[in-house]
Structure formats: structure tokens, C-alpha cells
């Protein structure tokens, strides 16, 4: 019986070491996260009525990205504690403003921030400090972060929502972007969103 136990323990340790070094669970990946995972993740309901209205959601209901009233959703994975996210915040706010001021894109492209490892309070501190105008969602226990692949912050995802083609991650980027305009241009180009002639 003791031999059986020892063998069982060794087997479990071997499995643990395999996962640890395979990188599948641990790597701070810069690669494109699984589109299936991202679209299937349940996000907690925003509490702020302005955020609910912006995303076009029902009040108090958890949601998935494909329920957002938009053609494209830009998701920023950030943390209140991340110096790079703090430095990038004004530029991300500017991205929001550029989109909001464009009559064609303002209802087609929406932004969401997910505060990895941040409580609701901590996300609120970040929102207040940088006057973030778009919804920020807490991911206190790293649930979303782990499902996405433990990416570095800030991390940006471009997700297209199409009722027929489904939800697709068409873009991902680790680290800060070089200006709101070129970033938006890239999002528009890759998503296939085009202004009507």
C-alpha cells in the first residue's frame, strides 16, 4: 500500500512538473489567446448605469463579449498596480475619445478594461485617478486572466462581433501601443470595419 501511495505521489509530482515547464499554464504569453475562451468568458455585470448603457447590456446581468452592442470590442487587460498601465492610461482614454467623437465608429467600437487581480475598490481607484471614461471590470481572483493565458499588462485584444461569423479575436498586443491613432487604424483595418463611401 505504501509503495502504491509513493508511486501515486511521484506520478502527481511528475504531472505537476510537466504543466509547470510546458508553459501551457504559466507563460506570460504574447500570442493570440484562444478565440473560443475569450468569447465564452462570463464577465461580471457593470454596476454603473453609464457603463451598462454604453455596452448596451441588461442591468445586473453578467455578460459575454458578444453581448456588447458593438461590431468591435477592444479589451484592455490592465492592473491598478501596473506602472506601464498607469503610464498608458491617458493614451487609452484618448483612444476612447477619438472613437466617441467619430459619428461612424462611436457605436461600432467599444472599450472594456479588465483589472487583473484587482478588487472592485482597486479598479475604482484606477478609474478615478485617471478619469477612465469606459467600463472597468474587476478580475479579483485572476479568473479571467488565467483563462486568457496570463498575459502581461497592459494587453490589448481586438474582438469582432458578427452574428453570423461569430465572435473572433482578430488582434492582440502586449505592452503599450504607439499612439491612439495608429492603434485605432490597425483595429479598423484588421476588423474589416469600413466607413461607407
Amino acid at each position: 500500500m505504501n509503495t502504491f501511495r509513493k508511486k501515486g505521489c511521484l506520478l502527481l509530482i511528475a504531472i505537476g512538473i510537466y504543466f509547470l515547464f510546458s508553459g501551457s499554464l504559466l507563460s506570460a504569453s504574447d500570442s493570440l489567446p484562444s478565440k473560443v475562451l475569450v468569447s465564452e468568458i462570463q464577465l461580471p455585470a457593470p454596476k454603473n448605469p453609464a457603463d451598462i448603457n454604453y455596452l448596451g447590456l441588461k442591468e445586473g446581468a453578467n455578460f459575454k463579449v458578444n453581448q456588447v452592442s458593438a461590431n468591435v470590442v477592444i479589451v484592455e487587460i490592465f492592473s491598478m498596480y501596473c506602472p506601464a498601465c498607469q503610464r498608458e492610461a491617458p493614451e487609452v482614454n484618448r483612444l476612447y475619445s477619438i472613437i466617441k467623437e467619430d459619428p461612424f465608429f462611436k457605436d461600432k467600437i467599444k472599450l472594456i478594461g479588465i483589472g487583473t487581480g484587482n478588487s472592485e475598490f482597486e479598479v475604482g481607484v484606477f478609474k478615478k485617478k485617471y478619469n477612465v471614461p469606459f467600463p472597468l471590470i474587476p478580475d479579483e481572483n485572476f479568473y479571467i486572466h488565467k483563462r486568457i493565458g496570463e498575459v502581461r499588462t497592459p494587453y490589448f485584444l481586438g474582438i469582432s462581433i458578427d452574428k453570423q461569423a461569430g465572435t473572433q479575436v482578430f488582434y492582440s498586443k502586449a505592452g503599450k501601443f504607439k499612439g491612439a491613432e495608429p492603434f485605432l487604424e490597425k483595429i479598423i483595418q484588421l476588423s474589416g470595419l469600413k466607413k461607407e463611401e
Binding site: 502527481l12 505537476g16 487581480g117
Partner: protein, 197 residues
């Protein structure tokens, strides 16, 4: 079977806890992960209601800072973190760096302390941005202040601990956090808000 469950639990903890913090892109390639550590490894020598042990330590910005210089003037928060260039520590202070207004509103100063030497702390805190609070080195005699408070671990690093000391020099809050996790910001803020301003 109990042994198997314990072994699996240890492996699971190691897989899921070691990399959940320190994901800022600003730190990429510079963080040493010590793995999952024993949550606490010391015995507190102080508690709420007692006079805080006095100390004087060299600051990264030059000169020395003593606890006594704030007596009758400011509430003091001591934030001990285990070591420079490690995952959780590297984002805890950048988070505090954006809440100077909360400290000011509660007439409090934050003193960050580690057992690292000044040159190491200089390089480490520089990549966090301009910290508004003093960072102190408890390097020599090694960990003497951490030891006075009972937060020196057996490997010579400090615990991840917070002490809130009022203007009369009395400890109002003593908290040793799980070293592998970041203390929730709201816990500290609530304690600060209860202090006499």
C-alpha cells in the same frame, strides 16, 4: 489517499500562485520568481495598541528617516515587502504610488521598507516611476527593524506586512499578509480613514 490529495494540492498551489502577480510589461524580463513560499515565516513582536518600536533607516533618496520625526505630526504606514525584483513586491508599491491623495486626506505618510541595500532599491524603484514616498533600506544590521517588529523571515527577507501607526506613535493596525499575495488596498484605506487626522 490523503497523501495523494495533499500532493496534488501543493502542486496546484504552485501552478496557480507563483505567476499571478508582477505582470506589468514594464517589468518584463527583470523579475525573479522565487516560487510559492510559506505564507508567513515569523512571529509578530508587536500588536495594535502598543507603542511602535522606533527606528532610523537610510533612505534611497539620501539621508535617514526616523519614525520619531513624524510623532505628533503625521500618521505613518510602514509597508514591509520581502525583496526587490520579485513578483508581488514589484507591483505593490506602484499601486500605492497612485494613491497619494488618500494618504494625504488622512494625514498619513507611507514608508516602504525592504532588507535590500540602497543600490538595489535605487535601481528597482527607479523602474516604478517617481515614487512619492520614502523607501528605506533595512539592510544593515540586516533586517534589524523587521526583526524588532517580528516580520523577519528565517531566510533573511521580510514578510509582506503593513503597520498603521497613529500620530502618538501607537500601532493601530498590524497585518502580516500571505507573502505570495498582495494585500487588498481597501483594508489599508479603511484603517487609514479611522485615524485621527
Amino acid at each position: 489517499m490523503t497523501i495523494l490529495i495533499k500532493a496534488f494540492s501543493v502542486i496546484s498551489l504552485f501552478i496557480w500562485c507563483t505567476t499571478a502577480f508582477g505582470f506589468s510589461d514594464a517589468l518584463k524580463g527583470n523579475i525573479y520568481s522565487p516560487g510559492n513560499l510559506k505564507p508567513t515565516d515569523s512571529v509578530l513582536r508587536v500588536e495594535a495598541g502598543v507603542v511602535a518600536p522606533v527606528f532610523s533607516l537610510p533612505a534611497v533618496s539620501g539621508g535617514r528617516i526616523s519614525l520619531a520625526q513624524y510623532r505628533g505630526k503625521k500618521n505613518v504606514v510602514l509597508s514591509f515587502v520581502p525583496a526587490a525584483w520579485t513578483p508581488v513586491c514589484s507591483d505593490q508599491w506602484p499601486g500605492y504610488n497612485i494613491i497619494k491623495d488618500i494618504f494625504s486626506a488622512n494625514n498619513a505618510i507611507l514608508l516602504g521598507i525592504t532588507v535590500d541595500n540602497i543600490p538595489t532599491l535605487f535601481a528597482w524603484t527607479n523602474q516604478m516611476g517617481n515614487l512619492w514616498f520614502p523607501v528605506l533600506s533595512d539592510f544593515w544590521p540586516h533586517g534589524a527593524v523587521a526583526n524588532k517588529y517580528g516580520v523577519l523571515r528565517t531566510d533573511g527577507t521580510a514578510e509582506r506586512a503593513i503597520f498603521v501607526i497613529d500620530m502618538e506613535g501607537i500601532i493601530q493596525f498590524a497585518h502580516v499578509n500571505d507573502i505570495n499575495k498582495r494585500p487588498r488596498l481597501e483594508i489599508l484605506v479603511k484603517k487609514l480613514e479611522r485615524l485621527k487626522k
